[in-house]
């Protein structure tokens, strides 16, 4: 179950590759400018970024057994962003992904812009912004931090998997109707592994060397209006993603079933909480979005509980 989101050359249409190269170059350019204006010692920061790149490489070797033959792995996008800051973190991830393509042929060269965009820009920059905002919404502190980091790590893997599939679909090298549910289904689990490892790493660092993280994370929760605003933005982003994925309808498997003619033979589960990802009594997009919101709420509650347990263990 090793997450492989490094697209090789040949899988993306050249125009898709080039468009994503441009998007990546613009964002990394902004990141370079942003870190240049930070009041930190430039050589020290560059050395830290370089060695942190090697750290991400090495940390991707860490796995943990889930069941025989299956293991959880770390991609490290959100981890890099939380440890180094969103901008420096995304530059480090871009460098790591570039070296992986050059040295290990893990991902292509022409499609490197797309790979950096999916994992470095959306995964790290987007992921660490989500982590920070989520942590503020949940009142900051230890618990908020764990919830934020875990949720962002999970979302970053899902977003990278979804974007990869969409780009392949636009390029005509996969069928989005089947590819999207398959990729998101497997990566929903891989993302949980990513979230747990990332929380473990941040927990260890914040317990052993709290000063490293204190500059990077908000210690306290945001004020009530800010909390509501941030919460709405995060929920909106997540729900739109969920709605986008849900609208790859008819659902991939159902479509295969329909195409292959065995849809009628399928039996529904004994009871359905949200039949067809919709809320009974409502119809259309509103219903799908509401169903998405319920799904997000469930994930958030689970993470909240996990965060509480983790925080209690730490303080015990």
């Amino acid at each position: 179950m090793r997450p492989n989101l490094h697209i090789p050359d040949g899988f993306l249409a050249p125009e898709v590759s080039i468009a994503l190269w441009i998007a990546t170059a613009v964002v990394i350019g902004i990141a370079l400018r942003r870190i240049a204006t930070e009041r930190t010692n430039a050589p020290a920061r560059t050395v830290l970024m370089g060695i942190a790149g090697a750290f991400i490489f090495a940390a991707q070797m860490f796995n943990f057994p889930v069941a025989a033959g299956t293991s959880g792995h770390l991609l490290g996008g959100v981890l890099a962003g939380v440890l180094l800051g969103p901008w420096a973190g995304s530059i480090v991830m871009a460098t790591v992904i570039g070296i992986q393509a050059l040295l290990f042929q893990d991902g292509g060269l022409l499609v490197l812009g797309a790979n950096i965009f999916n994992m470095g820009v959306i995964g790290t920059l987007g992921g660490s912004l989500v982590a920070r905002a989520t942590s503020e919404v949940f009142g900051g502190g230890r618990r908020g931090q764990f919830v934020g980091v875990g949720f962002a790590a999970w979302l970053s893997v899902m977003a990278a998997a979804g974007l990869t599939t969409l780009q392949l679909g636009i390029s005509g090298t996969t069928d989005i109707g089947i590819g999207l549910p398959a990729m998101l289904g497997t990566h929903a689990l891989i993302g949980v592994g990513e979230a747990l490892i990332t929380i473990g790493a941040i927990g260890f660092i914040s317990a052993s060397a709290p000063d490293i993280l204190s500059a990077r994370t908000s210690e306290r929760g945001a004020s009530a209006p800010r909390r509501i605003a941030l919460g709405s933005v995060i929920a909106l982003i997540t729900v739109s993603l969920a709605a986008l994925f849900a609208s790859a309808s008819p659902d991939g498997l159902e479509r295969v079933a329909e195409d292959l003619g065995f849809l009628d033979q399928g039996q529904g589960p004994a009871f359905e909480l949200l039949p067809d990802y919709t809320i009974p009594g409502l119809d259309g997009t509103v219903s799908t979005i509401l169903a998405g919101a319920v799904g997000v709420a469930v994930v958030v509650v689970i993470l909240l509980l996990l965060g509480r347990v983790a925080a209690r263990r730490r303080s015990a």
Partner: protein
Amino acid sequence: MIATGRQDARAAIVTTLLVTLAVALLPTGSYLAYLLVWLAVATVAALSGIAPGQLARRALVALPFVVAALPLLFTRSDEIIWAGELGAISLSVSGAGLRIILTTALKAWISVQVALILVKLYPIESIVGSLRALKLPDTIATSAGLTIRYLDLLRNEATRMLRARSSRSASPIGETRERAGGSIPWRARVTGNLAGALFLRAYARAARVEEAATARGARGSLSFGGLQQTDPRIVQKAALALAAFALISAGGALLPRF
């Protein structure tokens, strides 16, 4: 700070990118063009002292990704080459889908070989130095140089930490059943702790490296160093790369497709 002999790989980088782009632009089903490009790539490899067979085998790394394209075989409804019943399921296989899958696999396979020739001919330091000469921003070039330099060291450290973990806890189930460790979240947390501990070591190392660099008089930005000698025939080589691009594109347009 990091000084190694750096050759000018700019022409090779430009050629690699242009050939990869030309291959990506080849139309679906132009197998003859792919064969000719592969023969050319294999010839260049052989002339550079790289065994083409070995190159072809190593390039298979990209092929597992073809799984992503497999649904096209059944979801496309054009050029049905086989349709039948498999028990209760009626199945059709599309020729158009098959063509896309084969083409994508060939493109990936050839592109990896082209990239492999580049990294086999030039050490990674030369490639990063040349990218810097091609206007890769300083911060990225220096950071990439340091990443490459400390890669083996940190990977060795990670290997030792994993070995230490498996002798104490969290071994994969089935290998040493009695030491399989706690629940899955517990194992995940232990793995996270390892990553955290490794980061603290990397952080301490970065502070030491920075101190050492300052002690030796490094000021301002660290320089990863430019190219030691520039290729005098870079323009001619770039023109050759463009010619290769044009030739492959022409082949794609003129040669028959299947």
